[in-house]
Amino acid sequence: MRYIRVFPIIIGLSILFGLAFSGLAVAPAFTSSITVPSVGLVAYTPSELKGRHIYTREGCVYCHSQQVRSVKADENLASTYGISKSGDYYYDRPHLLGTARQGPDLSNEGQIWRREIGEPARDYLIGHFKNPRDYNPMSIMPSFDYLSKQELSDLTDYIQSLGAWKSPVESSS
């Protein structure tokens, strides 16, 4: 009988928390735009997944976002690569959307350093990982010179996969 006054509080809090839980944790699982992959989206290859793991481990996500929004600040990106959709991230685990842009957005990096370019693109990316200031003296990106050759190659595979599956944006107007 002692805690009779605590119970209404606990029940009230459970209802309020439960509402938010169903809204933000349960409902998304039943939203079709989230649970269906975008047209043309390709799953990651084993080496790309390894590269993705290195990207996660080294905390690249803290400075690089992977999303293009329909806002004025992203106009250049949106007109070149299109706006990111929920289905684009179907295979991403964990998600790497990012919350800051201390460096450029990387969601379409694979369309800049395309696989078709071959060795020059890979050489640039690997050299840039090792010492970004060789390419841009103003860069504040850490140099990842401690990664092994294999790790650098996997990371490059992953970066080149970003947005590479997208078909070119057709100018609609």
Partner: protein, 482 residues
């Protein structure tokens, strides 16, 4: 555990040693023993705060001098940043304010803490768990999502320890002798009960893509909203009326503030992905809830404002109360700012900029540090009856204020500049060089905060180790201090 033992050993020894009857010089230490668990939590929180500051400053220096500590994988920026953040959340804020909760609960329920031993054990477990988790991140085992980087088994360690803490506190509730529940206790209930649910959801899930992102932010924002904020507000609601020696302005307003906070805060998570690739309804719900947060924040502003009004003279004499007011301003500022950042048109400009960093740090420095420091001074003075050095406390206060203002102003300014530049078509690479001076100001402000914090630690260390004698000088003969 061991320190309890040592403590009681000392007391027994003293009893044996003192041959003549005299006022027990260790009466204070007896109180210390009563509040053993609370002290382990509180002082661990202050320890982790110092570590978080040091790592923060290293990170800040790396942002304008990237060669600093370069080529050491464990000290790379991308690994230190999550360590800084996790220590800030799980070390400094969680532990410090749980210390305050362990202090408040027995006093407000008029019942002894269910188990001091369990309380102290969970605190030590929490410490080692956090240490293990941070070392794991530095060694490259991060889980990779913000605020859930700490890998298995350390992440689940926190979940289990929190359940033990919640059980301990809740059992005290059940055994309470005071039937009325003061508002601080409501906030503590809200903090301790849902934590295991969203913590487990955020840390042990197999979602992918956008669902993963939404759940990630649901979890993360609950950490801030109904874990750290509630514990912090509970502390302020407890100490401010005691500091000004007046009852709380209005219990009705705190009732409204509490229930609206509980209703709206858990919905805030989605505002981290406004304009992102998430369904429109996630954005609308979160933006609405973020703006609705104005109600509980306004309730708190009015309530504390009303309590503080007319007690302005206390500001001049009581540094502890001054820190409370700083925490009050920090809370109001960070919350209203947070709501405004969720306005969609404003968010379109400043999302991804340093303004987010400015906002978070106003919350953690302005509200988090100031509130915990206010509580620590309050505890030393009112509970332990110790007098700390006023001049050191003054230095601590003004260095903290300067550090907060320097940090928040520099980051907010560059955030606004970045947002405007990006809207004019400049890229993040293009605005990189603009940031350098602001990042230098940030590192200097961090340095000031660290100096203030060191003075504070020195002050409380001196107070705790030398003062028991001076506080009871009139009662205790000189030769009995050892």
């Amino acid at each position: 555990m061991t320190s309890t033992q040592t403590n009681s050993d000392t007391i027994t020894q003293t009893k044996v040693l003192s041959t003549q009857p005299q006022p027990n010089p260790f009466r204070i230490h007896a109180l210390e023993r009563t509040d053993h668990a609370m002290q382990v939590w509180l002082f661990s929180g202050l320890f982790w705060l110092t570590i978080a500051m040091i790592i923060g400053i290293i990170g800040a220096v790396k942002l304008f001098y990237p060669e600093f500590l370069q080529s050491v994988p464990a000290l790379a920026y991308g690994r230190l940043r999550p360590v800084h953040v996790n220590i800030g959340i799980f070390g400094f804020m969680s532990m410090g304010y749980l210390g305050a909760a362990f202090y408040m609960v027995p006093r407000l329920t008029q019942a002894p803490l269910f188990s001091e031993t369990l309380g102290a054990l969970t605190a030590w477990g929490w410490n080692f768990n956090l240490l293990g988790g941070c070392l794991a991140i530095m060694m490259g085992f991060s889980k990779g999502k913000e605020y859930s980087e700490i890998p298995f088994p350390f992440d689940m360690g926190f979940g289990l320890l929190e359940i033990a803490v919640a059980g301990n506190i809740f059992s005290t509730f059940v055994q309470r002798r005071e039937q009325r529940l003061y508002v601080s206790l409501w906030y503590i209930l809200l903090a301790i009960i849902p934590f295991p649910i969203y913590y487990t959801l955020g840390n042990a899930n197999r979602f992918s893509g956008i669902e993963d992102a939404i759940v990630n932010w649901f979890y993360s924002h609950n950490l801030f909203g109904i874990w750290l904020t509630t514990l912090g507000l509970a502390t302020l609601y407890y100490i401010v009326p005691k500091q000004v020696k007046k009852p709380l302005y209005s219990h009705t307003i705190s009732f409204v503030g509490f229930w609206t906070l509980a209703a709206f805060y858990p919905w805030n998570g989605g505002h981290h992905v406004i304009w992102g690739p998430v369904p429109m309804w996630v954005m609308s719900a979160s933006v609405t809830a973020s703006l609705a947060m104005f109600v509980p924040v306004f309730a708190t502003i009015v309530n504390f404002g009303g309590t503080a009004l007319g007690a302005l003279s206390v500001l001049k004499t009581d540094v502890s109360y001054r820190f409370s007011i700083l925490a009050y301003l920090g809370y109001a500022g960070a919350s209203l700012w947070g709501s405004s950042l969720a306005i969609m048109s404003f968010n379109a400009k400043i999302h991804f900029t340093y303004m987010t960093i400015a906002h978070v740090h106003l919350g953690f420095l302005g509200f988090g540090i100031a509130g915990l420091v206010a509580f620590t001074y309050f505890y030393l003075e009112k509970s332990r009856k110790l007098s700390y050095s006023q001049s050191l406390a003054e230095w601590h206060f003004w260095l903290t204020v300067l550090g907060i203002v320097g940090y928040v102003a520099s980051m907010a300014a560059i955030g606004l500049i970045e947002g405007n530049e990006w809207e004019m078509g400049n890229s993040p690479t293009g605005t990189m060089m603009l940031r350098t001076p602001y990042n230098i100001v940030r590192a200097i402000s961090g340095g000031m905060l660290l100096v203030g914090q060191s003075l504070f630690l020195w002050n409380i260390w001196q107070t705790l180790t030398t003062s028991p004698a001076s506080a009871e000088k009139s009662l205790v003969p000189e030769n009995s201090q050892n």
